[in-house]
Symmetry: C2
Subunit: 380 residues, 2 copies
C-alpha cells in the first residue's frame, strides 16, 4: 500500500426531494449570485429545473441560467459559461444535469480564475490554483463528476481530462427520483461507466490493498445486482438508491486510496468518443473492458483471479470475464466495436492518438499504441 | 433507505513518515499558533512528539504543548486545555495520541467558542455552533475520533457523548508505523472498538441498504482477517495499513449513510467504563456485543442471518455469534463481565444509569433498563 493524502469535502444531499433543498444549502454556504447551467430540454420537461429555481427564489438568491450543454461537451461552450461568470460576478456555478453539464461547469469555474485559456490545464500541464465553487443537482448517474476532482472536455478533435482538488464540487444532490425518466441505454451506459471507475482503481499491481479491494469488490457486486433491476423497471427507487451510491462513490477517489490506478480503458474509450461523438462512453467501455482484461491478464493473474472469484463468483479468469460480458449483454450493451459503424482504419487512428501525448497508457500494463490497436482489433 | 446529508472534509495523510508532514499541512492551512495536546509519556518515548515538534519548527509555526490526558478523559482536563487556547490565542489544536487525547481537544475546541461550560453540550442539549479547528496525529487506532463528528467525555461519574460537524478534525495523520509499540491488549481493544463502530451502524431495521451493508460487511471481514496478524506481530505494517483504514473509516459516518443506527452496545459499555475506569472500552464491547446479539436476534432475524452469513461465513445466527466470540478470544479478550471484578449489584447500578437520561437505548431493539440488566447478567 502506498501513502496517500486524501480529502473529499463534497457534501452529499441524498434522497427524495433533496433538489428542493438546494436554495437553503446555497444560502447556508453564503453564496449570492448563482449561474445555473443545464443541457437539453429534459430538465425543463421533468420540472427539475423549475423546482431548483423555485428553491433559490424561496431563499432570495439571485441567479442566471444558461442551457445547451451537449454530450461530449466542448471547450467553446465552457468558455461561454466562463464569460458569463466573469461578466455577472457569479460566486457559485450550479450544474443541473449529468457529467457533461458538471464538467462544463468545472472547466468554466477553473477558467474564470485563470488568465489564459482553460485548454492550458489539459495540454500544457498548467496547474489549477483556484476555481469558482461548483455545486450540482445530478440527473444522470454515470460520470461520478458530482463528487470527483476530475473533468473531461472536447476541443479540436481531442477529448482530454485533468484533475484538481479545487474543482471538487462543494455539494451535490443525488435524488434517485430524478433518474426515473432516463432512457434504458443511458441507464445501462451509466452503470457501466461507474463500474469502470471502480475497475480502473481495482486493477492495480500495488500489493497489500485488502481494505480498498474488498470495498471495491463489494461496490461492484452491488452494481451487478441492481443494474438489471433498472433495465427491468427504470422507476425502481430502491435499486436507484444503490446505483446512486455506487456511482457517486465510484469516482471520488475512495476505492483507489493507496493504489497505483490504471485508466487504460477510459483512455482507449475517450479516443473512440472523440473520433465519433455518437459513441456513448459507457457502451464503448462495455466493449473495451473485457477485451482489455483478456489482453493484460497475464501481467498479474492473481489479481485477475481475485476479480473473477470475488466480484464475478467464478473459478477462472476467462469465466469471470465471460460473466462480465454476459452482464453487459443483459444491460443491452453492444458487444463489438463494428456495431458503432467504425472501420479498421478508424481503429488505427484512435490507437495512434491514444498514445500520442503520453507514449503509453495504463499502469496495470503499460500499453503502447501497437497494444492498443490489438485490443481494439480484438474487440472489433 | 433514508435521505441523508453527509459531508466529511477531514484530510487523511496516510502512511509511513506522514507525521513529519504535519508542519507543512498546518502551514498550508494558514494556522499560526498551535496547541499540541498529548497523553502520557509514550509519545515522548517513541519520539513521535519530538518529530511532530520538529516538523512545526521547520515551518516556523509557533506552538505550545500540554501533556497528561488520561484514558477515559475528564471534562476538568479539557477545560484546562480550553483555558490555554483562550489565554494563548490558539488557532489550531493538535492532538497527538488516541481517542482520549483527540476527544479532549474536541471538547476544548468547542468549549473555547462557547460562553458557558462545555458540559452543557452533553447534558443540556446545547448545540455546538462553532469550534476551534482540531487536527490529529493518531497513535492508537480504535476510537475513530480522528475522522468522526463525535466526542465522549467523563464528568461526575458520567461518561457522555455528543456530535457536531464543527468538531470533525481538519486533518489527521494515520501512520501505521506509530502503532508498532502498542501493547497487545490495546491493539485488540482497538480492533474490537472499530468493528463495533461498524456493527452499531450495520444492525439496523432500515431496509434497502445494500450498498452500505456490503461496504460494512467487507470492512469487518478485513478486520477479522488482519486483527489476529497484529496480535501475532505488532510490527506488521501491511496488516496495520488495513486495520488503520478500517478504524479511520469505521466511525466517519460512511457505513451508516441512510440508516437508523443502533449504538446500544456502546451505551451499555460506557456505563461499565464510567463505573470502573479500569475497564477498557474494547474489552467491554467484546463481552457485551455477543450478549446483545443473542438478546435482540428475534427482532430482525433476517439481518442477524445476514451478519452470520456475509460477515462470519456461517449458516446460522448462533454459529455466527459463536464465531465472533471465538475471534474475540483469539484477540485475547475476556469473555465474561465477572472477569472485571464487578459484582451483580454493580450491574444493576449500570443498567439503571444506562437508561436514566433517555429511557431506552438502541434502535435495532429499544432497550429499557430491565433489558439492559438481562444483557449484563447474561454476560456476567
Amino acid at each position: 500500500m502506498l501513502n496517500f493524502n486524501y480529502c473529499n469535502p463534497t457534501r452529499i444531499l441524498f434522497g427524495r426531494d433533496e433538489h428542493k433543498n438546494v436554495g437553503a444549502q446555497i444560502k447556508a454556504g453564503g453564496f449570492e449570485r448563482v449561474l445555473i447551467v443545464y443541457g437539453g430540454g429534459s430538465v425543463i420537461k421533468t420540472g427539475t429545473l423549475a423546482a431548483v429555481q423555485a428553491s433559490l427564489e424561496a431563499e432570495g438568491i439571485e441567479y442566471f441560467t444558461i442551457g445547451g450543454v451537449r454530450p461530449n461537451p466542448t471547450l467553446d461552450f465552457a468558455n461561454r459559461v466562463k464569460a458569463i461568470c466573469q461578466s455577472s460576478s457569479i460566486d457559485l456555478l450550479l450544474a443541473v444535469g449529468g457529467g457533461s453539464v458538471i464538467d462544463t461547469c468545472k472547466v468554466a469555474a477553473a477558467g474564470a480564475c485563470y488568465e489564459g485559456d482553460a485548454w492550458d490545464f489539459f495540454t500544457k500541464g498548467v496547474k489549477i490554483e483556484r476555481a469558482l465553487p461548483v455545486a450540482t443537482v445530478l440527473t444522470i448517474p454515470a460520470a461520478g463528476s458530482e463528487q470527483s476532482i476530475r473533468m473531461v472536455i472536447n476541443h479540436n478533435g481531442l477529448k482530454l481530462g485533468t484533475a484538481s482538488e479545487h474543482i471538487r464540487p462543494v455539494f451535490s444532490v443525488v435524488n434517485p427520483e430524478l433518474f426515473f425518466t432516463l432512457p434504458k441505454e443511458q441507464i445501462a451506459a451509466g452503470v457501466i461507466d461507474m463500474m469502470s471507475h471502480i475497475f480502473e482503481r481495482y486493477f492495480t499491481n500495488t500489493t497489500n490493498v485488502d481494505f480498498t479491494s474488498a470495498q471495491a469488490e463489494a461496490a461492484i457486486r452491488v452494481a451487478l445486482a441492481n443494474g438489471p433491476k433498472l433495465i427491468e423497471n427504470p422507476s425502481d427507487y430502491d435499486a436507484w438508491c444503490q446505483i446512486g451510491m455506487v456511482g457517486s462513490w465510484a469516482h471520488n477517489g475512495y476505492f483507489g486510496l493507496g493504489h497505483v490506478e490504471d485508466w487504460a480503458c477510459h483512455a482507449m474509450e475517450h479516443e473512440l468518443s472523440a473520433f465519433d461523438p455518437a459513441i456513448t462512453h459507457g457502451a464503448g467501455l462495455a466493449i473495451l473492458t473485457p477485451a482489455w482484461m483478456r489482453y493484460v491478464q497475464n501481467v498479474n493473474p492473481e489479481r485477475m483471479m481475485q476479480f473473477a472469484k470475488n466480484i464475478m463468483g467464478k473459478d477462472s479468469i476467462e469465466e469471470g470475464i465471460a460473466a462480465l460480458e454476459a452482464f453487459y449483454a443483459v444491460m443491452g450493451m453492444p458487444a463489438r466495436l463494428r456495431e458503432f459503424g467504425l472501420d479498421e482504419a478508424a481503429l488505427e487512428v484512435c490507437a495512434t492518438s491514444a498514445c500520442a501525448r503520453t507514449k503509453t497508457i495504463g499502469n496495470f500494463r503499460k500499453l503502447e499504441s501497437a497494444h492498443v490497436l490489438k485490443i481494439y482489433q480484438s474487440a472489433f
